[in-house]
């Protein structure tokens, strides 16, 4: 630092300390929106119990599906790579249409499908699929987990009725950390 600058930095320090600005937080790290959402998909798989019939064979992997335009890029594959949940290998599959879905445990429904969300959710009825999305009113319309962006953080909104209808058990630990709604409830 130049010789003339030194007194200035002292002035600055004095001001900072005096003004009570010295309130350091942990070093923050930020992530891209869909990187975080991808990580949530991975976590959700750990906090949900599927009925035994969701896994026809002992070696059936746990499938995380993405329906419609994939917003995750490589992030989801990177996170899921080589991971095992409940002693099942995690795999990512991408679907363009509902008809392509054979086995799927966690299904992210992209915003590209928002136009026919109701049909998609209707055809998921009776299947043991944890539906996840970030479209408007996703949870109220019958989806199970909605990502809500609030104050630049991702919140989870869970429709417990839909989860029960799909015969999925969501761990209380996850429910505590999220907002639980029922079908038909409207929210601003």
């Amino acid at each position: 630092m130049g010789h003339s600058l030194a007194p200035c930095s002292m002035i600055l320090l004095g001001i900072l300390l005096g003004a009570g600005l010295f309130a350091p937080r942990l070093r923050a790290q930020a992530f891209k929106e869909y990187d975080i959402k991808a990580a949530f998909l991975y976590h959700l798989a750990q906090f949900v119990e599927w009925p035994p019939e969701a896994f026809p064979a002992a070696e059936t992997p746990l499938v995380i599906g993405v329906l419609g335009q994939d917003p995750f890029g490589k992030a989801l594959d990177e996170i899921v790579k080589d991971e095992v949940v409940k002693s099942r290998k995690l795999v990512v599959q991408r679907f363009r249409q509902m008809e392509e879905i054979k086995i799927c445990h966690v299904l992210f429904i992209s915003q590209s499908e928002a136009g026919h969300l109701d049909q998609i959710l209707a055809s998921l009825k009776g299947r043991h699929v944890l539906s996840v999305g970030d479209s408007e009113n996703f949870a109220q319309r019958g989806g199970i987990v909605r990502f809500v962006t609030e104050k630049n953080k991702i919140r989870l909104r869970i429709n417990i009725d839909s989860a029960k209808a799909a015969n999925l058990t969501i761990s209380s630990k996850l429910l505590r950390a999220t907002e639980v709604v029922g079908s038909g409830e409207t929210r601003p």
């Binding site: 130049g2 600058l5 200035c8 600055l12 350091p24 790290q29 906090f47 991702i154």
Partner: protein, 693 residues
């Protein structure tokens, strides 16, 4: 040929004289020595009084910095830390609660992936800038492999893309956060007054080539888009400072805070003193300078669908001159509103005001006020089309104070620019083939209506590669130097060599044919190659109208072809390499016999090579090297050079200490300009402390 009868000296001197007024007062002195034997040229030059006046000592204004620091701190609020963008693999190690507390960087828009961009775009990231140890925007632009950057003296730069490089380079569009930094004096950029707090830069996007139809006026050979971080991403206190041999001392303070949960702001102040470059014989070139700058930015996100930005800067500085110091100052304020109607529809409205003032003793003073309004709207037209359209209005009030040496007549002009554009991106085969067609329509006060259409086709054979081709028409619209310029100021005594712009000067036209291919063969490596062929018509020429009179005309044609290569390679988790190679071939020819064939529209190296190595070592150490090779400049001749910068840093938590050596290979080397009086850039070193909390 008529032109060949002009004495050799004239032909060499004239183009240089044109550069004089803006380049640097000292050129005048140096050139006057150089042309002393020239009969007519001598009369002209000796009109400059006081060439040997002593310079004033520059004051380091501690008081000014202190005021800025106080300004930067009084705002108050809660302190936060710098934000670092993490990778997905870091995320999966987090607990659910930690994940719920993660900050998101982009709320709505999914940024276009680099592999999908159908243009010759290169991006310089914050990390690239920090790890290179560069200390100014022009230095940072050296990191773009598709730019030609030459340092002319301590404060002046010549920067261009795809040829035509010059201190008065006039074929680039340069924007800082959407604000065009453009002087209508010569359709270029006064680089030394374009300062930003480098730590706040998010990225610099450099597009070589006309860059499509979306950009504003003057995007002929390229677009430089300097984008600073949202105030949301610059929370907390940052203090940096240091000093060295060329960059004698510098300091900056930034404070970022928040009001409530969705209004963020930052204020900053910075200043620096830079030492003189040197002459070929090692003597001090007496071009020291200093600059003090402060500014703010607020980003307000009242809802998911709205983002409002308001930002501004103030700067003042002085540059050591032959007679007296050149003084500069400027202010700007910009407001922007972005609204998302839906995933498929977005609106952006922006307004700014920019004032620049510059006083070059015994040459000219200019006060320029720019008022600008723009909007653009993007929406989906059915399943397969994305349409973007927009319009803008710009008023430039240019006030020049003339001297007996040079004049812009009339001294005061109010220049209006109306612009509009329309672009349609059509998906021919989903995720595979895209066709983009569009046009710009502009009206300027010099050449009237200008139509600039462009068409590009992008083929994405696989998710890791893209091949694209484009044809565009672009124009470099006239500026005041082309039409209003007089050297010396009238009335000109008979027999004195004189030079002037011409009212009939028209736009320079470009027809650009571009190709590009990008591939990411595997995760750690990305490569791009971009060949091009540019055909120019109505290029600026200097025509002789009488034995002693010369004017600007549009009597040159030219072709430029070349290729740009770049690579980015993450060799290991701790070592990253990025580099590029640039080949430019330029050929210009006159269309009339009056046009002097020696006109120097740019002085371009045929080959250019750059490499940046970024290495994290154990013990919180960083070792970074940036090297560059620039081929010989043909006319006036500047020898080729190779040199490199080295940065060694120790980073521990929020404290970073670094030592940077710049231009280390030689004691000094020239990068631009004629040999007489040419400034050379010397080896230099500085140390820096950076502390954030």
């Amino acid at each position: 040929m008529e032109a060949l009868r002009i004495p050799q000296r004239h032909r060499l001197t004239l183009p240089v004289l044109i550069l004089i007024p803006f380049v640097e007062p000292y050129y005048l002195e140096d050139r006057s020595c150089g042309v002393r034997t020239s009969r007519t040229g001598m009369k002209l030059i000796s009109a400059v009084p006081g060439v040997h006046v002593c310079r004033e000592v520059m004051f380091f204004s501690a008081a000014r910095l202190a005021i800025l620091i106080v300004l930067a701190c009084v705002a108050g609020g809660r302190a936060q830390t710098n934000v670092v963008i993490g990778t997905p693999s870091q995320l999966k190690k987090l607990s659910l609660d930690e994940l719920l507390n993660m900050e998101v960087t982009t709320v709505s828009k999914r940024p276009e992936k680099l592999t999908e961009a159908a243009s010759a775009i290169q991006v310089i990231t914050q990390e690239d800038i920090r790890r290179s140890g560069v200390t100014s925007l022009p230095e940072a632009l050296r990191l773009a492999p598709n730019l030609q950057v030459a340092q002319v003296n301590s404060h002046d730069w010549a920067i261009s893309a795809r040829g035509f490089n010059n201190t008065l380079a006039n074929k680039l569009l340069v924007m800082i956060d959407g604000r065009a930094v453009y002087t209508p004096l010569y359709a270029g950029v006064f680089w030394e007054v374009q300062n930003v707090l480098l730590e706040d830069v998010d990225r610099i996007e450099v597009v070589s080539g006309p860059g499509g139809t979306l950009w504003g006026a003057n995007a002929v050979n390229g677009v430089i888009n300097i984008i600073t971080r949202s105030a949301k991403d610059t929370q907390g206190v940052l203090v940096t400072g240091g000093g060295g041999s060329l960059l004698q001392d510098f300091g900056a303070v930034r404070y970022g805070g928040a009001v409530g949960s969705n209004l963020f702001y930052r204020v900053y102040g910075q200043r620096f003193d830079r030492n003189s470059s040197i002459l070929a014989n090692g003597n001090d070139a007496s071009d020291r300078w200093e600059m003090t700058q402060g500014g703010f930015r607020t980003d307000w996100y009242p809802s998911d669908a709205n983002a409002l930005t308001f930002q501004g800067d103030y700067y003042a500085g002085s540059e050591q001159g032959a007679v007296a110091d050149t003084l500069v100052n400027g202010q700007n304020a910009l407001g922007r509103w972005a609204h998302v109607f839906s995933e498929e529809s977005e609106l952006q409205v922006q307004m700014y005001f920019d004032r620049t003032w510059r006083s070059i003793p015994n040459q000219l003073a200019e006060d320029l006020k720019t008022y600008d309004f723009d909007f653009q709207h993007r929406f989906a037209g059915g399943e397969r089309q994305t349409i973007v359209y927009g319009a803008g209005y710009r008023l430039m009030q240019d006030r020049v104070k003339n001297t007996s040496l040079i004049s812009f007549l009339p001294p005061n002009r109010d220049l209006q620019l109306f612009s509009g554009f329309l672009q349609d991106e059509i998906t021919l085969v989903p995720e595979r083939l895209k066709f983009t067609i569009g046009t710009k329509l502009e009206h300027n006060d010099f050449s009237g209506w200008e139509v600039q259409p462009s068409a590009r086709l992008a083929w994405i054979p696989a998710t890791n590669q893209i091949l694209w081709a484009a044809i565009s028409r672009a124009v470099r619209s006239p500026s005041r130097i082309d039409t209003d310029f007089f050297l010396p100021s009238p009335p000109v005594p008979p027999g004195v060599t004189n030079f002037s712009g011409s009212r009939g000067f028209d736009s320079e036209n470009l027809l650009a044919y571009e190709l590009g291919y990008r591939i990411q063969p595997f995760n750690r490596l990305s490569l791009s190659v971009a060949p091009y062929y540019n055909f120019y018509e109505d290029l600026r020429s200097i025509d002789q109208t009488s034995p002693t009179s010369f004017i600007f005309e549009n009597h040159f044609k030219g072709e430029v072809w070349g290729v740009e290569l770049s690579a980015n390679y993450r060799a290991t988790d701790w070592w990253r390499l990025r580099g590029g190679y640039n080949y430019v071939h330029k050929h210009l020819w006159p269309t009339t016999t009056n046009a002097l064939s020696t006109v120097r529209e740019g002085n371009d190296p045929q080959n250019q090579f750059s490499l940046q190595s970024i290495m994290d070592l154990p013990g919180h150490l960083q070792f970074d090297v940036t090297a560059r090779y620039v081929d010989t400049l043909p006319a006036p001749n500047v020898p080729s050079y190779f040199t490199f910068d080295v940065r060694v840093a120790w980073q521990f938590k929020n404290l970073e200490l670094s030592i940077v050596g710049q231009n280390l290979l030689d004691n000094h080397h020239p990068e631009f300009g004629p040999v007489i009086g040419r400034r050379e850039i010397q080896r230099s070193v500085y140390g820096k402390v950076s502390w954030s909390f």
